[in-house]
């Protein structure tokens, strides 16, 4: 036993030495030509937000397989290496550095805004582009100085756009003149959405109330809201609390339309609220499996074949991210991280399963949001809200 351990120690240190050498050599060679296009999938595969990360990794894997089956891009195959951030932001930053030193041409992920922001400096230091499928916080692609962060892109629309789109939807589609906001003030997400909505909404905001993540009792705040006159209730927050808010509001007799962001987009929302309460509920989504886009139906059936379940929006956004990279790589003579970054900026009218888009000057895709209407817990209607 001791002998074996001793032997293993030697092998381990030898392996580490080797790894160190190879990492060095790759680092030097990363700006030179390689036979493959290396994609690092940096995702939350375990920990609290593992659901997002694993779903996105599935989307990435599917896209990589499809691209390679079709012969790759420019005759080069995509090679995917996946890294698990364990839902830790510091881990995301370290893994971005590690992936870059291991020869990644482009980093895909992480799923959450916080992790993407943590990984951004590492990506910039290594001069490797990072494309997050679902980091929606406005600050992800804009530095504190108001300048665009040069190496960070995203495939999803940003939070403030959602707030604006939902305000427009309330104005135009719901014809609302008075709105009340019951927002999650314990996350940047909820606060940012509430601000964007307030800024854009043409009517009057009658009242703004707050809750914090983890709250379960909303009876007091809903009772006081019920006394107000309003046409729509906007709930910028996640499904965990939104489901309970919908339930308690409907049970209390608040029957105005309830409007929410993509944080509503989880099947648990309906279960938490009770299907009979989820009528006249609207939320903005990045993607819908409904509709007549042939790309979407192909994607859905391929995904179901590989993973046995319907893809969610995270998988769809991640899938688009890989094709987006492929689109950028296609026109390149020489594939280097910098060249991919430059090409990503120039991407025009990319047709993905989550919509057709180009990037604006701040590396945000200019795409439309889909507002989903729920009736008795079922998706019944989809309205496209165009970007400005």
């Amino acid at each position: 036993m001791t002998k074996k351990r001793w032997f293993m120690g030697i092998t381990a240190s030898a392996a580490m030495l080797l790894a160190a050498c190879s990492a060095e050599s790759v680092e030097e060679g990363s700006s030179e030509e390689t036979d493959t296009i290396n994609i690092a999938g940096i995702f939350e595969q375990s920990g609290p937000v593992a659901a997002y990360g694993t779903s996105e990794l599935n989307g990435v894997q599917l896209a990589v397989e499809e691209i390679n089956e079709a012969g790759g891009v420019n005759g080069k195959e995509f090679e995917l290496t996946d890294y698990d951030t364990q839902s830790e932001e510091t881990e995301a930053a370290q893994l971005a550095t590690r992936a870059a030193s291991e020869g990644a041409h482009v980093l895909v992920g992480p799923a959450t805004s916080g992790a993407a922001m943590a990984a951004a400096p590492s990506a910039a230091a290594a001069s490797v582009p990072l494309v997050s499928p679902s980091a929606t916080a406005d600050q992800v692609t804009v530095g504190e100085d108001g300048e665009v962060t040069p190496y960070v892109f995203r495939t999803s629309f940003k939070d403030s756009f959602q707030g604006i789109a939902l305000a427009n939807f309330a104005d135009n589609e719901l014809g609302a003149e008075k709105a009340v906001i019951l927002g999650d003030n314990s996350s940047d997400y909820g606060v940012g959405l509430a601000e964007a909505f307030t800024g854009e909404f043409d009517g009057e905001i009658v009242a703004t109330e707050n809750f914090t993540a983890g709250d379960t009792d909303f009876s007091a705040v809903l009772t006081s809201l019920a006394d107000q006159e309003f046409d729509v209730l906007f709930v910028p927050g996640y499904y965990e609390e939104a489901g309970l808010i919908i339930r308690q509001a409907r049970e209390m007799g608040i029957d105005q339309p309830i409007l929410g962001p993509d944080g509503f987009g989880n099947e648990q929302l309906v279960e938490l609220a009770g299907a009979e309460n989820v009528t006249d509920v609207y939320y903005s989504a990045h993607y819908t499996s409904e509709g007549d886009n042939p790309n979407v139906s192909e994607f859905v059936s391929a995904f179901e074949e590989s993973y046995g379940s319907e893809p969610d929006m995270f998988a769809a956004l991640a899938y688009d991210t890989v094709y987006l990279v492929a689109d950028a790589v296609e026109g390149l003579d020489e594939v280097t991280p910098e060249a991919i970054r430059d090409a990503l900026r120039e991407v025009e009218d990319f047709e993905g399963v989550t919509g057709t888009f180009s990037f604006d000057d701040f590396h945000n895709p200019v795409k439309s949001a889909i507002v989903v209407e729920l009736e008795n817990g079922e998706e019944v209607n989809f309205t496209e809200v165009q970007p400005e």
Binding site: E209, T216, A220, D227, E240, G274
Partner: protein
């Protein structure tokens, strides 16, 4: 006016949930002078056991309640046996810190095991809402309120009218003297934990049912607030837990209704600080000088 009455009902209903948790807290403290910070986690475990029983065995509320109470009682006894009994002779701060450790252990153990996500609680009771003109109240609100009162009375009876209760009070006054009188102190303390934990488990199931959501973190904040409720009412005093719970529930509701929804939790903690400064023994507590 009607909305004020409704807010009072909201406050009472929230308060009876705190009271339900605070009862167990205060009883354990009353007997062995230990603030069992793992109490909120036992409440959470009760909710999960109830959830699993209903989900996988397809039974109704009453069997689920019984299973959840039994499992929580067992857990309470195990925690006491493994974590607190070896420290009974140590200083009180040691036991307190251990209790915090046990609390985090259970919480994170459950996060590891079942995941951190919220899950909806199977709705075994249809929640009917009675509209009484001035206010409306739901059937589950009535059940929670009723359960809290019944349990308070039952606990009071157990502690003050039964032989076991007499033993509990004896242990609370002087464990060594109680032992000399032929009371099995270990049994009495185990029984105390069993009772308190069973209450917490029942509370967990009812709260899960009421709000239709459970998650491994669900015991943390309510547990903390129930602790404040127990301190406010006078820790160790059973009717005090009920009073404190209702007061905290009402305060929170009124702050949200007529103040600022952001201050909700802050106000509760301010109450804790004030009561500790002004009347540390709580509203119903008697100020007794410790004999040296």
């Amino acid at each position: 006016m009607s909305s004020f009455m409704q807010q009072v009902i909201n406050g009472l209903s929230l308060g009876s949930i705190y009271a339900l948790i605070a009862l167990g807290y205060t009883m354990v403290y009353g007997i062995i002078k230990l603030i069992n910070f793992a109490h909120g986690e036992i409440f959470m475990i009760g909710a999960f056991v109830g959830y699993a029983t209903i989900q996988f065995l397809n039974v109704g509320l009453v069997p689920a309640l019984i299973v959840a109470m039994a499992a929580s009682a067992l857990l309470g006894v195990i925690i006491e046996r493994v974590a607190y009994r070896p420290l009974r002779k140590s200083s009180r701060i040691t036991a307190l810190i251990t209790a915090i450790g046990v609390s985090y252990l259970i919480q994170n153990g459950m996060i590891q095991w079942v995941g951190p996500n919220v899950r909806p609680f199977p709705q075994v009771l249809s929640n009917v809402r009675y509209d009484l003109g001035l206010f409306s109240i739901s059937s589950i609100q009535l059940i929670i309120f009723g359960t809290a009162i019944v349990l308070m009375v039952a606990l009071q009876l157990i502690v003050h009218r039964t032989k076991m209760g007499k033993a509990m009070r004896a242990v609370s006054m002087d464990p060594e003297a109680a032992q000399l009188m032929g009371i099995n102190v270990n049994h009495v303390i185990s029984f105390t934990f069993m009772l308190g934990s069973a209450l917490a488990g029942a509370g967990g199931v009812l709260v899960g049912l009421f709000y239709n959501t459970i998650n491994p973190m669900m015991g943390f904040l309510p547990g903390l607030k129930a602790f404040i409720a127990a301190v406010l009412g006078g820790i160790g005093i059973i009717p005090g837990a009920m009073l404190g719970g209702v007061l905290i529930g009402l305060t929170e509701t009124m702050v949200v209704a007529y103040g600022d929804s952001l201050l909700r939790d802050a106000v509760v903690f301010v109450i804790l600080i004030l009561i500790l400064l002004v009347r540390p023994s709580g509203i119903l507590g008697k100020t007794t000088k410790e004999k040296v």
